[in-house]
Symmetry: C2
Subunit: 385 residues, 2 copies
């Protein structure tokens, strides 16, 4: 197997943006190409994610990105896996490079949602659930994650204090990220007083609907060594699933696919969770971060909320989590999220995370969840030199 490397990664500002999805995608792609210092002509395959492209009447966005980059002859593909779309695309890029099929693969994630209302966005998002059994019954994602939160808080006798701590931490982290959607410090009172959107989840438990794009260049080891001094290898790229509907699971306090993918990722990387320097995890709702930390193995079951309260997952803690602000505050442009996590890893490992730079950046882990875990991707990166 050829070891794939991240030659560069980028993201646009996240938020309510005026640009079209296609323009955002091309911007992110061009920034990744520019950072890598290569010509677009070097790209051999383009994989794009844009789950809700139909909201702009545009599917089949790969040829549009490639035509804009001046490489229309290059094959392209769109990969969708709900909120884990672009980490799914990253996995395919990994496979294409590791298998020796290509040396240079461009991966792009993009979403444009702000031209539809929040109510409509919630409805569109629910297409990622087991629609006839969940959404039609009224269970959109706030409701589904509220069900997970209720089960978790009941099982481990926790109050919403743990949720609030995650919200405060990630809002605080986003203050240092100029590309974050929401850059606003919140107090525990603000959190407690925010309106309930699906009990026990409040507004400040939820990530915003964002527009944005992200991109990365995944290249072979040989190509990376020729084109950069900072070598970031992909030590593991794993994916696994869970039942499409929450109702078919025996335990709601864990996401089975996340446990499987994490276990395999640590095996592939040959390390334990303790080795990870920092991690970006899928906090579409605060409860999701807590469950993620346990599923990955950073904390034992029932203790995933401790980190934000006691400080271990804060930026200066033992295992900084979502130093970018996470989905919660950096924003969640569905198909751009997985690669935005990689963009944060890249900024940190290249020592360009101004204002939020971590000192230890040898190993990073990204955790990206589609729907309530029907799909989960885990990637482990290492700064080799």
């Amino acid at each position: 197997m050829i070891r794939p490397f991240i030659l560069s990664a980028s993201m646009t500002k996240f938020g309510k943006l005026q640009e079209s999805g296609r323009n955002l995608a091309v911007s992110a792609a061009k920034e990744a190409i520019e950072k890598a210092g290569i010509s677009a002509k070097e790209i051999q395959l383009t994989i794009v994610s844009n789950a809700f492209g139909f909201l702009e009447n545009q599917i089949h966005i790969g040829p549009i990105v490639n035509t804009s980059l001046g490489i229309p002859e290059v094959p392209s593909l769109t990969v969708e896996s709900a909120c884990s779309s672009s980490s799914g695309a990253l996995r395919e890029a990994f496979v294409n490079v590791a298998g020796g099929f290509y040396d240079v693969v461009l991966v792009v994630g993009v979403e444009k949602l702000s031209h539809v209302s929040t109510m409509e966005s919630t409805t569109y998002f629910s297409m990622g659930s087991d629609y006839p059994y969940e959404a039609i019954a009224g269970a959109t994602f706030p409701g589904l994650y509220a069900t997970i939160a209720t089960a978790y808080m009941n099982e481990y006798k926790k109050s919403d204090e743990i949720l609030g701590a995650v919200a405060l931490k990630n809002h605080h982290n986003a203050l240092s990220n100029p590309k974050a959607h929401i850059r606003k410090e919140i107090s525990y009172e603000d959190y407690k007083n925010s309106k309930v959107i699906a009990y026990p989840l409040k507004l400040y438990d939820a990530c915003p609907f964002s527009d944005g794009a992200s991109a990365a260049l995944v290249v072979s080891e040989e190509y990376a060594k020729k084109h950069t001094d900072v070598l970031i290898s992909i030590e593991a790229s794993t994916r696994a699933g869970s039942t499409a509907a929450l109702q078919d699971r025996s335990d709601l306090t864990t996401i089975p696919g996340a446990r499987i993918a994490a276990k395999k990722a640590f095996e592939d990387a040959g390390i334990t969770p303790k080795k990870i320097s920092f991690s970006e995890v899928h906090d579409c709702f605060t409860i999701a971060e807590i469950v993620a930390l346990e599923d990955i193995g950073f904390f034992p079951k029932g203790e995933g909320g401790k980190g934000a309260i006691e400080g271990d997952t804060q930026r200066d803690g033992k295992i900084p989590i979502n130093v970018s602000g996470g989905l919660k505050a950096k924003g969640h442009p569905v198909s751009a999220t997985g690669l935005a996590q990689v963009a944060e890893v890249y900024e940190q490992m290249t020592q360009n995370a101004n204002g939020r730079q971590l000192s230890n950046t040898e190993y990073a882990l990204t955790h990206n969840v589609g729907a309530t875990g029907g799909s989960v991707s885990i990637h482990i990166f290492r700064r080799v030199r």
Copy 2:
């Protein structure tokens, strides 16, 4: 590289169906698994294509298929590439097996369209074009392919006789395919008298909007040898692109991506077009078949229409084309089309194409086009034993 094989392939009946897309997808998957005589538990990765799933409010269909098959933990992915979606999925399955990542990959293509009107379907399809520059200007796919037909007929001084001959051939072929959407012989008079939908294209130049699903199991050589006596190898799996919009091309009588993908496919397979026993090509409109035959290299430029008139591309001709009835008459459930071509290859190579069985089935080529060629996939299959 590990050589990937087609262990089995299947398709549902194509047409206006009552079943939901998800049920059609599961039906096709189960049929492929049953034909292979393996347990679903053997599947290690599922790749699904369903470009217009949002018309049923369902994206992220992989976990739904896997949950229905009793394998929720298996990773899944949705791949979209407009009308070439499921051949794009097949390419990723090829890469995953050839690269040694998995031994057994399930690929599924599905589309459900008949619950929306023909006018709406035309609009939705146009999302696959360069929407703001083509569809908004009024150029939906009938118009874009009419532009190609006009350019072609002008360049090579041809009348619609060549288009009519393709229509008659493929309608005739579909009579022998019980799964075809349109099983109706048409005369040249019927063709000439059918209404113009986008000059010079008439109704009988166009494929129908169909519902349907298709599936295949892509496996490693070792796995195939253990589980079947009929060994069908994938000798080549190539993809290439063209500009997203037709207006950016210098020559409208050819699809650049098809030429690139075909050339590479023959190189990879180590054969010339003359070696191909039969082929399923992308005839969304009659003109598309003619251009395809030239792009692949079966006929010189300007002579792609000869085959249907003189008999070379008829079922008993030198190079039978679309013996299944093609998109034109078998039907075109967008994301099911690429794998339905593979289902025909499988039926022919396993000698199960009752009523339309060809005698020479050693080599087959499938050609699947997304939009007007923004994406093109070519696959070459060989019956090894």
